[in-house]
């Protein structure tokens, strides 16, 4: 998979990186096939918006059981896109994901392990590579979603910010990775992201929720009504296409399934490391 040999920003590991990177043994350029429930969701296409709670109801993820749709999407009447994606992860624990989100962001080579066919680069906006937390920090990633190379700013927030009861999460051994996401460098924050990870028999499951566009769009630092109006106007100028929604669902399932395949091992190998 060593297509690029230069030091330029590139997809995957070069020959030289494969020979020298401490993470090379975890770099697997092949992706497993999409799970059957993902393929069916892509074929079903958009569904009724009433089946997809808005971000204001994110805390309903606390409830046991499942939402009406765990993998699928809708385009709500306000134009907002709501995506749900379920990833089943044998042997994985929620704590491993918590560790991963802090650990991977310091190095492009770590980030690339996650999605060998889409991830290009990552850096913390604060420039610190020695911290072991991610909440309150901004991760700037460069990745392909479908065929499009995007720079995305992921502004991690506390679970409480989107309405979670953090004590309850902890008591249940669960994790909720929560973030505001937007295109880097642009004033418009385009959506919300939650990865809720809870233990299951033999491992855990990740329930990803993405809310984009429509009312979820806010200019930076303008949470109020005026920000909402400006955000909706900006979104109408360039709404997400069905193809882009499909690409996001595919990307999410690829990366989560891929990493889950070796997360227990890489966690074991590097959990006490950091730098």
């Amino acid at each position: 998979m060593a297509i690029v040999k230069s030091k330029e920003r590139h997809l995957g590991f070069t020959e030289e990186e494969l020979a020298t990177s401490p993470y090379a043994r975890f770099f697997n350029p092949e992706l497993a096939p999409l799970p059957e429930h993902v393929k069916e969701a892509l074929q079903i296409g958009g569904q009724a918006s009433e089946l997809f709670p808005p971000v204001e109801r994110a805390c309903d993820l606390h409830a046991s059981g499942y939402w009406p749709v765990e993998t699928g999407y809708t385009v709500a009447p306000d134009g907002a896109v709501r995506i749900c994606a379920l990833t089943v992860m044998p042997r994985v624990t929620p704590a491993m994901w918590e560790w991963w989100f802090a650990w991977h962001g310091s190095e492009g080579d770590r980030y690339k392990l996650w999605h060998p066919r889409a991830h290009v680069d990552v850096a913390w906006a604060d420039g610190r590579d020695d911290l072991d937390h991610y909440v309150g920090r901004v991760s700037n990633v460069v990745e392909y979603v479908g065929p499009t190379l995007l720079k995305v700013a992921i502004r991690f927030v506390t679970p409480a910010t989107v309405g979670f009861d953090e004590q309850r999460l902890k008591a249940n051994g669960e994790v909720a990775i929560c973030a505001r996401v937007g295109l880097a460098g642009a004033p418009v924050l385009t959506g919300w992201l939650v990865h809720h990870v809870r233990p299951t028999t033999g491992g855990s499951e990740m329930r990803t929720r993405i809310w984009l566009g429509g009312d979820n769009v806010r200019p930076l630092g303008m949470p109020g009504a005026i920000g909402g109006v400006l955000g909706r106007m900006a979104y109408r100028l360039q709404p997400l296409t069905i193809a882009q929604i499909n690409e996001l669902i595919v990307h999410d399932n690829h990366e989560m399934n891929h990493l889950a395949g070796f997360l227990p091992e890489i966690y074991e190998a590097f959990k006490k490391g950091g730098r």
């Binding site: 069916e40 296409g45 958009g46 569904q47 009724a48 918006s49 009433e50 009406p68």
Partner: protein
């Protein structure tokens, strides 16, 4: 009238006489439907127009029983086959008259898309649907639609009703439109015929383009107006695929509970 919402709420689940038949989960899409979605739009010549509706009575299948096309008359044509063990054509005839009087009945059919139904004539005590207009509110894909479904006789589309009856088949035929607009935008037929162990439904939708007419203007002037107006909203692959999925889901879903519903609520044993 109660508020419009998807599915049964807690009080409906507790009190509706139909609650025992409300199943919020849908079965997976059948393999032939998934393949049709992968294949996407096909050659229009494989999809006869509404003018060929009488050919549904031919014993052989059509070239495409599940799939869709965009035809040169500006229309899209969507065909869906549903296999229904233990179901008879008569059950579907009963269903089309029965469900339209009560939203909670309508919701049994597609628990994740159906919102509301009522007859334009306001009558809830009739046991026929032909000649009446059903107003439905439903999601197709993510789109929230208010539609009018004006049921017509099979013979008005050229289908020989005596032949249908002789074979124990039924053909549910209707003109569809968008509520609140002066347009009827398409035709639909659900042809149900007996097969070993049950029945099969051959659904046909002809929408947009040459199928569009102002309400009450069946002639040439109406055709010109209809074609002109139909160009205002281009039909997309997403619309065709969404309708194909919706039809496959609702027909398979109801097919599984229809024998029990018919047994319990039809008048045949009274």
């Amino acid at each position: 009238m109660s508020y419009l919402h998807l599915g049964y709420d807690a009080s409906e689940l507790a009190s509706s006489p139909y609650a025992g038949y409300f199943r919020p989960e849908l079965a997976p899409l059948p393999g032939h439907v998934r393949e049709a979605l992968f294949i996407g739009a096909q050659a229009q010549e494989l999809f006869p127009s509404i003018d060929a509706a009488a050919e549904l009575l031919a014993p052989a299948d059509w070239p495409v029983e599940t799939g869709y096309t965009f035809a040169t008359d500006g229309s899209m044509r969507i065909f869906v086959l549903t296999q229904m063990p233990n179901v008879t054509p008569a059950m579907w005839d009963w269903w089309f008259a029965w469900h339209g009087s009560d939203t909670q009945r309508y919701k049994l059919w597609h628990p994740r898309a159906h919102i509301d139904v009522y007859w334009s004539d306001g009558r809830k005590d009739l046991d026929h649907y032909i000649g009446r207009t059903s107003n439905v509110v439903e999601y197709v894909g993510s789109e929230y639609l208010r539609l009018t479904i004006r049921f017509v006789t099979p013979s008005s589309l050229g289908i020989d009703e005596r032949e249908l009856k002789a074979r124990g088949e039924t053909a549910i035929c209707a003109r569809g439109g968008i509520a609140g607009t002066p347009l009827e935008t398409g035709w639909l037929i659900h042809h149900v015929r007996p097969v070993a162990g049950g029945a099969e439904m051959r659904s046909r939708f002809w929408l947009g383009g040459g199928n569009v007419r102002p309400r009450g203007m069946p002639g040439g002037v109406g055709a010109v107006i209809g074609r002109t107006l139909s160009r205002l909203q281009p039909l997309t692959n997403t619309m065709a695929a969404d309708l194909l999925v919706h039809c496959a889901q609702e027909m398979n879903h109801l097919g599984a509970i229809l024998p029990a519903l018919y047994d319990t609520f039809s008048n045949r044993n009274r």
